[in-house]
Symmetry: C2
Subunit: 255 residues, 2 copies
């Protein structure tokens, strides 16, 4: 499976950037009996209440985790980019407490729990790497709680855009401040605990200030440093161990 271009496989780029995992171990992961599938936008991969028997790996496209409240309000609790294993947790938590849906057309790969569990039992390093991945997911959630709980809408929006830019840069090969971001203002609002009206007005303000532009599913950042400042964005919480070049550029000076 993509032997020649192993470095360009999203999962591999991702694991390499956030863990000390060896390439051999990654290869073992990809040799599991994987089933690939293309799905459209708005596809529900697993729903709240499900008890999945396989994990999902995102090869292309974006997905999100979300919950719906009694009054119909939706809260998105995570975005996922290529290389993410969005429901790795289902390996140990039987019942899904939220839904997983695609935000764009996506190419997914499914790994049976049974096979993955067997591999992790035999390979402790790999198990540690994946455990680490889930811990980074939790770190991102802490950052979201902080952002939603204590920042104004302007800073919240700036923050999520910073995060998505860096996370995308870690797996994509390309321009680092012009990224494909298949996320509607509605979805941003649902992730940030805001309304679409508020998101829209602040995005317009950013645009007027010449800070960034978000149209046609493409985010273009003109003043990364200022955006980062508005967001109070510090990428430490993403816990890169070996950030790819594109990410290093964005992060600038490291402490």
């Amino acid at each position: 499976m993509m032997e020649a271009k192993l470095h360009y496989h999203p999962l591999i780029r991702h694991l390499l950037s956030t863990t000390d995992i060896s390439e051999d171990n990654v290869r073992l992961l990809l040799e599991l009996p994987i089933v690939e599938q293309d799905v459209g936008k708005g596809h529900t991969i697993v729903a709240e209440g499900d008890r999945p028997s396989r994990c999902c790996l995102i090869l292309e496209g974006f997905t999100c985790r979300s919950r719906v409240l009694a009054d119909g309000a939706r809260q998105i609790v995570a975005f996922h980019v290529p290389g993410d294993l969005p429901d790795l947790q289902s390996l140990h938590l039987k019942r899904m407490d939220h839904s997983l849906t695609t935000l764009s057309p996506a190419r997914l790969a499914f790994i049976p729990h049974e096979a993955l569990r067997g591999l992790l039992r035999a390979n402790h390093d790999l198990a540690e790497s994946l455990w680490r991945r889930t811990l980074i997911d939790a770190a991102i959630l802490r950052e979201w709680v902080t952002s939603i709980g204590r920042k104004l809408a302007r800073a919240r929006i700036a923050h999520i855009l910073c995060e998505l830019t860096v996370r995308t840069a870690a797996v994509e090969v390309g321009n680092d401040t012009r990224i494909a971001l298949p996320v509607t203002q509605n979805e941003l609002a649902d992730a940030l605990g805001l309304t679409i009206v508020s998101v829209n007005r602040h995005l317009q303000e950013f645009r007027r200030e010449g800070l960034l532009e978000l149209r046609h599913r493409t985010l273009t950042i003109y003043d990364w440093s200022k955006l980062r400042h508005i967001a109070e964005f510090d990428s430490d919480y993403l816990h890169f161990t070996r950030p790819p070049d594109a990410v290093s550029v964005l992060l600038g000076e490291r402490r």
Copy 2:
């Protein structure tokens, strides 16, 4: 170490309620070279930026994880009750991205990373149980994001009180609707993304309605069912596998 009363050890009660771990395996954990320590209220166990070399187990008392923003605002991103391993993540994420402090006088036990890592490497079941614990922490964070992002102050406050009651009931032996809750209104506000003024007013309203009382570090709930309804509280996200009796009573009918 407390051989006779093994069932009453907080860590054990906790692990038994949220995992399928065997008592033998828990015993192995407690046979590690543990150092116990008593600390006062407001003690910083580990600070943001630290690179701890040991994990902390809470034997008695409450702690919280928190972050401080540039403008001085504080966001609490987790509460911890006896039996919790609040910085288990430091085993795999070197640098702390938040601080860990005590909310009350506490008795802590410290387990060296080295020893714990060795044990987990040899005992995959135990490693899975602890991984599961960190996944439940993440599930709680998702619930917090949902609550802070999409619920009114009244529901948010009700929700955190429900959660703390159930989580405490899982490790404490005693009355299930009258719990020791050493949390100030200020700390509740910092956890919920509210101000102390707002928390205070809603708590008074609850009190006036005869729903609950929170004074002298004690929470007394008079109408659990109504509180649960206001909070839209569904304990599924806590992922109990074998809830203790006190918890079962609170949860009522299970789906």
